[in-house]
């Protein structure tokens, strides 16, 4: 079975973390950005989403991190149909998802430490309980000396790592990243990828939307390939160097 088929087959896995059944999505009255997507991802899996710009990668991620709703079809997350979830259920589900947004969405008025601690504070944890964890995580992503720095003073790669630290700080069940290596050099891209692998090794389901075919090819991970909003078989890849 090909890598793409393996991912999209929608095998009835007993421990699936999410399932799309014939899901379509449109923004307002615009055209469909996702059409009849069906897939099932097992808990603890690691997938890439690929496709050209406008293929629907970010829209698929938005559905998963509950920033948008399907216009048709069924989306089950953590075993529940999202359409029947209450506002409270959705909030609780969001707390189990870490997201590295394409434009990072760091809060410029908060220090790197405060940005990273954000999900823990929102979840109601006490500062005394997570202070050292946050410091340790920032050190782990190479920002140990920049904890007090405001995002506008950080370099591109540092911002990227800060966004990743915020996404993983509360040990999410799903980690989503939208073009996390888009604005960094090759070496930094590999470092970031290793962070995701480490998270996955710890049990987190990882889904990365990327244009970086080289990274995808090197990883050997399953791929969800989107073309014009539809899941398609992965096109033939060039030789990996």
């Amino acid at each position: 079975m090909s890598r793409n088929a393996q991912a999209a087959a929608g095998d009835s896995l007993s421990d699936e973390i999410l399932r799309f059944s014939d899901v379509s999505m449109r923004y307002g009255r615009g055209p469909e950005v996702l059409s009849n997507v069906s897939l099932s991802l097992p808990r603890g899996s690691f997938h890439f989403i690929t496709g050209v710009s406008g293929a629907g990668k970010s829209s698929l991620l938005k559905l998963i991190y509950l920033a948008a709703r399907p216009s048709s079809g069924t989306f089950r997350l953590f075993g529940d149909d999202v359409a029947t979830m209450t506002a409270r259920d959705l909030t609780m589900a969001r707390r189990k998802i870490g997201v590295v947004f394409q434009d990072l969405l760091l809060l410029d008025h908060l220090s790197a430490f405060d940005n990273t601690a954000l999900p823990l504070r929102i979840a109601g944890h006490k500062a005394a309980d997570y202070r050292s964890d946050v410091a340790e995580l920032l050190t782990w992503v190479g920002l140990g000396s920049r904890m007090n720095a405001l995002p506008p003073t950080l370099a591109g790669g540092e911002k990227q790592r800060l966004a990743i630290a915020r996404a993983v700080v509360n040990r999410p069940e799903i980690l989503l990243a939208d073009e996390p290596t888009g604005n960094v050099d090759h070496e930094m891209a590999l470092r970031i990828y290793r962070l995701f692998v480490e998270m996955n090794r710890l049990g987190t389901t990882v889904i990365i939307a990327t244009h970086d075919q080289d990274l995808v090819a090197r990883s050997g991970r399953p791929v969800l390939h989107l073309e014009k909003g539809r899941l398609k078989p992965l096109p033939p890849q060039g030789p990996v160097t």
Partner: protein, 296 residues
């Protein structure tokens, strides 16, 4: 370059930026509204006190107009009327006014008259009533009729009714203006909340997607605008209180005019202003923020 960061001393920063360039303008507008609201409250209190003072005076008094008939002299008729009324329940004092006093009352209309005896000026009897249980006009009238006197009792009820109606209108108008100002303040806060949410959409979006509950996010804006409104309310209330104090000092015991007698105690009415302003702002901000967050 390494920065000193003491994890143990770290305290969570506010989710919303502490300062906003638009805050001074918002504080000014809400302070002006609070100032006007406080002045309205002071005006209503002063008007109410004026009306109560007038009605209080009128309720405690009645005037009887006595005309002599037959061969009786006006002085004798007035004396008989005073005698008939004295001792009635609800009457504390009765005085027959001299001819000159009655003439003084009508002088503005008839001018100087050389010989008062030529003028059939009716005599007046001033009756002071018991304030707690005043005698009614009907009781006074019956007592005068029993003595076969040609007399008319004026218990000032028409005036009292007019003054009470005027006081009621002043009160209602003040309440309406007060409510209008409160609504204007709420609308301004709602507008500012919308602007604040639009300006801080990045923060709201991150909080929302990171798992903050709608009420958590709304409470940030609620607290922020409540604080701004409390400060504005304090400024408005202090300004109105200062103006009230100046008017009280300028006008002495009667206030600026006898119609609006401001008392020192009235100035206490401005005290709840900061709390009320904060409450209105908090409610307006909460409702607006929750509605907007729902649309995210």
């Amino acid at each position: 370059m390494s920065e000193a960061f003491d994890t143990a001393r770290w305290r969570p920063a506010a989710f919303l930026p502490e300062k906003d360039a638009r805050d001074p303008a918002l504080i000014f507008v809400i302070a002006v509204l609070c100032f006007l609201a406080c002045l309205t409250a002071l005006g209503a209190l002063a008007g109410d006190r004026g009306a109560r003072g007038w009605t209080g005076q009128l309720v405690g008094e009645a005037t009887v107009v006595v005309r002599a008939r037959g061969g009786e002299t006006p002085d004798a008729a007035a004396a008989r009327a005073a005698e008939a009324l004295a001792g009635l329940p609800g009457v504390t004092e009765v005085r027959a006014l001299e001819k000159e006093k009655a003439y003084d009352l009508i002088r503005p209309w008839i001018g100087d008259v050389a010989d008062l005896d030529d003028l059939p000026v009716p005599r007046l009897v001033a009756v002071t009533l018991d304030r707690k249980a005043p005698a009614t006009a009907a009781l006074l009238d019956q007592a005068l009729k029993r003595q076969k006197l040609d007399a008319v009792v004026d218990d000032h009820s028409i005036w009292i009714k007019d003054i009470r109606r005027a006081a009621g209108v002043v009160r209602s108008t003040a309440i309406a203006i007060f409510m209008l100002i409160a609504a204007a303040a709420a609308a301004i806060v709602a507008f500012a909340t919308r602007a604040g949410l639009a300006a801080r959409r990045d923060v709201v979006e991150v909080l929302h997607l990171t798992g903050a509950e709608d009420s958590q996010i709304a409470s940030l804006f609620e607290l922020r605008f409540a604080r701004i409104a409390a400060v504005s309310g304090a400024i408005g209330a202090a300004s109105a209180g200062a103006l009230g104090g100046v008017l009280r000092m300028m006008g002495g015991g009667e206030g600026l005019t006898p119609a609006l007698p401001i008392a020192w105690i009235d100035l206490l009415a401005v005290l709840p202003c900061p709390v009320l302003a904060a409450l209105v702002a908090a409610i307006a901000a909460r409702l607006t923020a929750r509605r907007l967050i729902k649309d995210l």
